[in-house]
Amino acid sequence: MDLKSQIRAFITKNFYVPDGATIADEASLLDQGVIDSTGVLEVIGFLEDNFHLKIEDTEMLPENLDSIDRLTAFVERKRGPSPLPE
């Protein structure tokens, strides 16, 4: 499964997505009520455990975390370029 799909799967499996509709890649997770101040800690935990990353407090910004697209880009930046195709 590619990176974005893994992240999407985690979000939709662990949080409630309104109307059962699929959440758009660029939709704000905060706006959609998917994420909140304790939920974001679960997301950080998932990213750290699943992708073997260390996420700093200072990186808990909407630019990095507030949509599936942004989460994907954030992980890619943290991991660095991958030599193998996804």
Binding site: K13, N14, F15, Y16, P18, D19, L30, D31, Q32, G33, I35, D36, S37, T38, G39, V40, E56, D57, T58, E59, M60, L61, P62, L65, D66
Partner: protein, 517 residues
């Protein structure tokens, strides 16, 4: 400040006269002056009145912490209506209940919440539906009462507000609060209630014109609402954030804006205490930190003293029904750290036994509050009101029986002992076990459920559900939580679910919660 300020919206008007170009509100990238807030709220008030919102009508404002929500609150007051702020996490069924309960003639909301409000938008008593942000054109075509927020502002530009018809004993707001039965109760607050509360709290906090107050709490929560009311009363500045979710962002803004006031609940302070990089944010400008909604532990107090060494720390206690009862003067936090303090200015408190007799110092009883911040009652709930409001000292006067167990020491300092009801406080928010149980048993596959609060370091109390499934039903904890999330605000969703073959019962067949943990 003018001496006679009979209504709440005069706070904004007077500050706008004195400091028109001062930035009153910072919200994301937007910086809004007092003049703009005054003019927008006048325009919106004019627009609401032109569409039939009359004196005493309720106006539900169902939206996040945004500039539009701020404008809407003051506009509702200027339209001589009653502002009813509703948490944006509220789901459709609950929103429907609130609409049926207070029958508003206006609903002001945002496009991104359409999934929730579209189901109730055609309520017959609604004369106008004001929507900010992106409006779905299909919905717009289908709902004749729908008008875009910006359009109303443009239409009403440079119009004065409607003539003021209320006096200070008229209702300014209804604040809904959870009740043990599971249905929320609308706390009725007059202009006089709210003016009294704002004056009292501002005075003991020492709010000044150059204060910069950060608010991350929902405006629908009276604690969050009053950050705005007190800021505008003084001509100070409010930094309005949606939530505490993106910590680093909030702290960046707080530092850049040089905030002087930091209101929080224990969960926020617990999250801050866990933050390893907190020291990298310059928050030396903070002059006061406040806490209410749940107890400030010794660990929290210690953390706050270290993180904000120059700041005054206020541990406070109150109820929506009277806004606030007590505060601990900062100079007393060393010698009485577990107290919630003394009565706020212009309020009296005492402790009674079951018969209403005042008890001696040190004896636990129910706390009673006397003063002009005490609510007028619950909207259309006379029985529930009668349990809380009882005759006071003077004819016609009513005092508030809080429903909380407290004791007072010899010096009149109050100590909170516990609630008389079974309401859970998670993240500082009230959760009625009955409300969660009702939702749980509405899920096909769940036969019975019992909900309790369990101690949690971060949340204060976590919501725990014991669930008995129907024979043959297969549900995972996650599926149950997702279902709850679709019906309830997120802080009400059980954090822990334990499956049981059956629930412990009393001889009469009622669920016995005492053994559960």
């Amino acid at each position: 400040m003018r001496s006679a300020v009979p209504q709440l919206q005069d706070y904004l008007t007077v500050s706008a006269e004195r400091l028109p170009e001062k930035v009153a509100l910072v919200c994301g990238a937007r910086r809004v002056s007092y003049r703009e807030l005054e003019e927008s709220s006048n325009a919106l008030a004019w627009g609401l009145a032109a569409r039939g919102v009359a004196r005493g009508d309720r106006v539900i404002i169902f939206a996040d912490n945004t500039v539009e929500t701020v404008v809407a609150f003051w506009a509702a007051l200027k339209a001589n209506a009653v502002a009813v702020l509703v948490n944006p996490l509220t789901k459709a069924d609950r929103l429907g209940y609130l609409l049926a309960d207070c029958r508003p003639t206006a609903l002001i909301t945002d496009g991104h919440l359409e999934g929730v409000w579209k189901k109730v938008a055609q309520a017959p008593h609604l004369k106008v539906l004001v929507v900010s942000g992106r409006v779905n054109p299909v919905l717009r075509a289908g709902i004749s009462t729908l008008v875009a927020f910006d359009e109303l502002i443009t239409e009403g530009v440079s119009r004065p507000a409607p003539p003021s018809l209320n006096i200070d004993i008229d209702l300014a707001s209804i604040v809904y609060t959870s009740g043990s039965t599971g249905d929320p109760k609308g706390v009725m607050l007059t202009h006089c209630n709210m003016l009294t509360a704002a004056t009292s709290i501002s005075s003991y906090l020492g709010i000044l014109e150059d204060d910069v107050i950060l608010n991350t709490l929902p405006l629908a929560f009276d604690y969050g609402l009053y950050q705005m009311i007190m800021a505008f009363r003084q001509g100070a500045r409010l930094i309005l954030e949606r939530s505490f979710t993106y910590l680093a962002e909030v702290l960046k803004v707080a530092s850049a804006e040089r905030i002087t006031g930091l209101p929080g609940v224990p969960t926020i302070f617990a999250i801050l205490a866990e933050m390893k990089s907190l020291g990298s944010f310059d928050l030396s400008s903070v002059r006061f930190v406040t806490n209410t909604a749940a107890a400030l532990s010794l660990k929290h107090i210690d953390f706050l003293k270290r993180a904000f060494p120059g700041a005054r720390i206020y541990s406070m206690y109150g109820l929506t029904e009277c806004k606030r009862c007590t505060y601990l003067p900062p100079e007393d936090i060393e010698r009485k750290p577990t107290s919630v303090g003394i009565a706020i200015p212009n309020t009296e408190v005492w402790v009674v036994d079951d018969q209403g007799n005042r008890v001696a110092p040190g004896v636990v009883g129910q706390l009673v509050v006397r003063g002009a911040t005490v609510m007028k009652g619950y909207w259309k709930k006379p029985e529930a009101t009668a349990k809380k409001l009882k005759p006071g000292l003077l004819p016609g006067e009513q005092v508030l029986w809080t429903g909380d167990y407290c004791k007072m020491d010899e010096e009149g300092y109050v100590y909170f002992v516990g609630r008389m009801d079974d309401i859970i406080k998670s993240r500082g928010e009230k959760v009625a076990p009955k409300e969660v149980e009702n939702i749980l048993v509405s899920l096909p596959g769940i036969r019975e459920a019992a909900v309790i609060g369990v101690s949690d370091d971060l949340l204060g109390e976590a919501v725990k559900a014991f669930v008995v499934l129907e024979a043959g039903a297969q549900l995972t904890a996650k599926e149950i939580q997702n279902y709850c999330q679709s019906k309830l605000e997120n802080f009400k969703v059980p954090k822990v679910i334990e499956f049981m073959a059956e629930l412990p019962k009393t001889d009469t067949g009622k669920v016995k919660k005492t053994g559960l943990q």
